[in-house]
């Protein structure tokens, strides 16, 4: 095993390891337990999955210069429609959660397709299109739910059984990871995606069709957010149908820090494995916040998350100088 391998392993695990050790230490010195029982562990796995999948969905379009605010609204609307359909058809049946899961992906994909076609049709900056799509999807959600929280459709024995088993969630995570790595790292589609991302004009001149690639990206993002919508519904046991005026975009912002962490880890291993590890980091942080919730209010948690993002961005933009400083390279040069 050469030094390059060890460097790659270190680069991959250093951030999650630092998160784990620091947070465990903070809990230990305060006499708290970060993950106290089976239910806490399941919640940890679910939140890590939500963050990982949202981050992948955000990165797919963002890395191609397409800022998509509509992710949250797709998650909510797909889960609303799928829960309504599955509850209407199956009620409290044991299969209703699985059917809701499948439907959520299908509907999410369809919503993503509509979003992608709109972007292509209107030929205006995608950030503008996504703002409009967000408002439309939020409005549809509000109309379907009359602004209410959906409870009966989600609070079924089937959903409780599905979501309370961390193995189900882990399987979802692994399958999503495997499929996404295959699509974007190993398939022709992924090669075209990377070519378009790194040099659109050249890629188009070589014959790569940009429009179908972009639209398929939107479809894949929609499917991923359908999964997120399902997981959120199971985690909260309600779906808030009353979010209007960009109330749904907050979920997108939870993915920014993980995206940068994942990008950093991606230099040493694989970007998508990086997003998984970043999701684990954020879930560790979330579990720690929960333990200290009486001391660290929701607004303080937001500030801490923002500070972590800023600090990490400062590091990324000055990585060379910081590495030189800590390895005393500047001293050896002098």
């Amino acid at each position: 095993m050469n030094m390059n391998f060890y460097k790659r392993v270190l680069g991959t695990v250093v951030i999650p390891l630092v998160f784990l050790l620091v947070l465990l230490f903070i809990c230990q010195i305060n006499g708290r337990v970060m993950i106290a029982n089976q239910v806490s562990f399941t919640n940890f796995v679910i939140y890590a999955a939500i963050i990982m999948i949202t981050t992948i969905a955000l990165s797919i379009n963002l890395n191609s210069g397409r800022f998509d605010f509509s992710l949250g609204s797709i998650a909510v609307l797909s889960s609303v429609i799928s829960s309504k359909i599955s509850y209407a058809l199956l009620g409290q049946s044991a299969a209703s959660a699985f059917i809701m899961f499948i439907l959520s992906m299908v509907i999410g994909g369809l919503l993503g397709f509509i979003s992608g076609r709109l972007y292509n049709f209107l030929r205006i900056p995608p950030i503008i299109t996504s703002l409009g799509v967000t408002l439309i999807y939020e409005g549809i959600t509000y109309t379907i739910t009359s602004g209410k929280y959906l409870m009966a459709e989600v609070q079924t024995a089937s959903m409780s059984a599905f979501i309370s088993n961390w193995v189900n969630i882990a399987v979802i995570v692994l399958v999503v990871l495997a499929v996404i790595i295959y699509i974007f790292n190993l398939s022709k589609f992924g090669a075209e995606y990377r070519a378009l991302k790194n040099g659109q004009k050249v890629a188009v001149n070589t014959g790569i069709k940009e429009v179908p690639n972009a639209i398929w990206c939107y479809v894949i993002c929609g499917i991923l957010m359908g999964i997120v919508g399902f997981l959120n519904a199971g985690r909260n046991m309600t779906i808030n149908g009353g979010a209007l005026n960009f109330g749904s975009i907050s979920i997108m912002f939870t993915a920014f820090l993980p995206m940068f962490i994942g990008g950093f880890i991606g230099r040493y291993s694989n970007e998508y494995i990086g997003y998984l590890l970043a999701g684990i980091c954020m879930s560790l942080l979330n579990s720690t916040f929960a333990v200290f919730a009486n001391e660290i209010t929701a607004s303080m948690q937001s500030i801490i998350n923002a500070l972590l993002l800023v600090v990490f961005l400062i590091y990324l933009n000055n990585e060379g100088k910081i590495v030189n400083l800590f390895t005393f390279r500047w001293l050896r040069r002098n």
């Binding site: 106290a36 029982n37 239910v39 806490s40 919640n43 939140y47 009359s146 602004g147 209410k148 929280y149 409870m151 009966a152 609070q155 409780s160 985690r235 909260n236 046991m237 309600t238 808030n240 149908g241 009353g242 979010a243 209007l244 005026n245 109330g247 939870t254 979330n286 579990s287 916040f289 929960a290 333990v291 919730a293 009486n294 209010t297 929701a298 948690q301």
Partner: protein
């Protein structure tokens, strides 16, 4: 010639008669009352209580009276409230009814600036704020649980569980700085026999809760009932916090608001008795009948009827004043401790026959309605 003039006379007479009939019918037709637009500020758009209020106004009141209610989306801060009032003014609203409490004083001042009547439904200003603004001619009044009523609601809830002999509880709520939740929480703690920061004086406890900007569990001393956990809000950590509260295996879970919206299934599944201050809805009925909801303090959906009556009177130039001051009347909570009680409250305030129905409201809408008559209506129902 004679026949020609006779013919002309006949036609002229006929025309005059037709004209007279038409003119008479125009003057005889009653003047169509102008539709009154009323803006409604809301901070909760999804909870069962909020939806009940909205259904009462939009489905019952709007169809019974010539009014149109224009609702805001969820308002989360004072700036949004102000902006909403300005938009309503531009849309021709004559009055604002507020169910949002980020900054009621600014709401009132903004309404005054735009010459809109302002009223508070299901809530109240702080006492000193009311004293300061009660003379404002655009301040119609406030009808809802006073802070003392909110405190009493929490107190009775705490006392109920203490008398039941519970040895441990988890508490949820107190979305500080929402004053009604703070007063409720103070009442719950004192009702359980606890002290906060060494005192069980209402004002001292409330002051500390505001000052701490949270409920500091370390400051709670409760010799008879252990406070296993406390959490507030509904954010990313709530699932874990609820899990921690359930894992602590309390005898009861006391909520000062919204637990029945968010946590019913989890608490039912854990077999933990719980309480809430909410409203009488079908969902809560199911939780009380088949689940573990054992105590519910609630309001009727039509409890916001009288404040509408006061507003429409003001718009029509028939303001009801209490010795020249804005109306200020307290409404108590009703408490259901079993399904029979719940059902009684629930069925007596149904959508098509609410407690404050048109006949009751008509008795206090119009000219020459005295404050005493209005007060009697509110307090006797």
């Amino acid at each position: 010639m004679k026949a020609k003039y006779a013919n002309f006379a006949k036609k002229a007479t006929a025309l005059v008669l037709v004209g007279a009939v038409l003119t008479g019918s125009v003057f005889a037709r009653p003047k169509k009352a102008k539709n009154v637009k009323i803006g409604v500020l809301v901070s909760d758009v999804s909870g069962e209580e909020a939806l009940g209020f909205r259904a009462y106004y939009e489905k019952y009141i709007a169809s019974a009276y010539n009014v149109t209610f224009k609702y805001t989306e969820q308002l989360t801060n004072a700036e949004e409230e102000k902006s909403a009032i300005e938009k309503f003014a531009a849309q021709g609203c004559k009055a604002i009814i507020s169910l949002s409490s980020s900054d009621r004083v600014t709401q009132l001042q903004t309404c005054s600036d735009y010459k809109l009547y302002y009223a508070i439904a299901s809530g109240m200003l702080e006492d000193d704020q009311y004293e300061q603004y009660k003379n404002n001619p655009y301040f119609v009044g406030q009808i809802g649980p006073s802070m003392e009523t909110e405190f009493q609601a929490g107190l009775e809830m705490g006392r109920y569980f203490a008398a039941k002999g519970v040895k441990s509880v988890s508490i949820y709520g107190a979305f500080i700085p929402n004053p009604m939740h703070v007063y409720r929480t103070a009442g719950v703690l004192i009702g359980l026999g606890a002290t906060y920061g060494g005192t069980n004086d209402k004002n001292a406890v409330v002051g500390q809760l505001f000052g701490d900007s949270r409920v500091n569990v370390a400051k709670i001393s409760s010799p008879k009932v252990a406070i296993k956990s406390y959490f507030q809000g509904f954010g990313e950590t709530t699932t874990d916090e609820l899990n921690a509260a359930i894992q602590a295996k309390p005898d009861a879970f006391l909520s000062v608001g919204m637990a029945t919206t968010f946590f019913t299934s989890q608490l039912n599944a854990a077999g933990i008795e719980f309480s809430d201050i909410d409203s009488f809805t079908s969902g809560n009925g199911k939780a009380m009948k088949d689940g573990k909801l054992v105590y519910l303090a609630g309001k009727y959906s039509s409890s916001i009827g009288p404040i509408f009556a006061a507003v429409i009177n003001a718009v029509n130039g028939n303001s009801i004043r209490d010795k020249g001051n804005a109306i200020s009347l307290s409404q108590n909570y009703l408490v259901a401790k079993n399904y029979a009680d719940f059902d009684k409250f629930y069925t007596s305030d149904s959508g098509s026959s609410p407690i404050f129905d048109k006949s009751k409201l008509d008795s206090v809408i119009g000219s020459n309605v005295s404050y005493e008559a209005f007060k009697s209506l509110v307090e006797n129902n």
